[in-house]
């Protein structure tokens, strides 16, 4: 658990990082550096997006699987690292 905390601290202290959310396999946020409302909103939307990315890849090749997802927009970049039971979401300002 201390390792997780360390890693989160390290990511959080990177220049430009606006927020970090850890979501479990049911789409429920278990940890976040953002306010409740943003956390819930991002978690739900990104959970949907990750499911879609996974099924997109599996439709192309059932043996393949998602290892990372980056959604860049005008105002920020959302990076998602999926794992078996969780996914890690980091929102950053790419120009910072």
């Amino acid at each position: 658990m201390a390792e997780v905390e360390e890693t989160l601290k390290r990511i959080q202290s990177q220049k430009g990082v606006q927020g970090i959310i850890i979501v479990n396999s049911e789409g429920i946020p278990v940890k976040s550096t953002l306010d409740n409302q943003s956390t819930v909103q991002y978690s739900a939307l990104i959970h949907q997006l990750v499911m879609k990315a996974r099924s997109t890849l599996r439709d192309i090749d059932p043996q393949n699987d998602l290892t990372f997802l980056r959604v860049r927009s005008k105002k920020n970049e959302i990076m998602i690292a999926p794992d078996k039971d969780y996914f890690l979401i980091v929102i950053q300002n790419p120009s910072a």
Binding site: S38, Q41, Y42, L45, I46, Q48, L49, K52, A53, T56, L57, D59, I60, D61, Q63, N64, D65, L66, T67, F68, L69, R70, V71, R72, S73, K74, K75, N76
Partner: protein, 96 residues
């Protein structure tokens, strides 16, 4: 048009690039370096995914918009650059 050709050639000549597809606003692939069935599959799936990614971005902030998507998997990386309802899709081998 020559500019477009140049750019595409540059991308296609990049080490690790497996294929490029341009999808028009109606979801039809208008240019591709892959075979027909692979192209149609990617065009359909990625158009659907990009639409979801874009609405996720807009749901968080209606002033914001999607500029780029990177879907990384074990076997390849799919890059999607949406513009004016068109999509530029590049599939590359992530390790090169």
């Amino acid at each position: 048009m020559a500019d477009v050709e140049e750019t595409l050639k540059r991308i296609e000549g990049h080490k690790g690039v497996i294929g490029t597809i341009i999808v028009n606003s109606e979801g039809l692939p208008i240019r591709t370096t892959l075979d027909n069935s692979t192209t149609s599959l990617y065009a359909r799936l990625l158009r659907s995914f990009t639409t979801l990614a874009r609405s996720a971005v807009r749901d968080v902030d209606p002033q914001n918009d999607l500029t780029f998507v990177r879907i990384r998997s074990k076997k390849q990386e799919i890059l999607v650059a949406p513009e004016n309802n068109y999509l530029l899709v590049v599939i590359q081998n992530p390790s090169e």
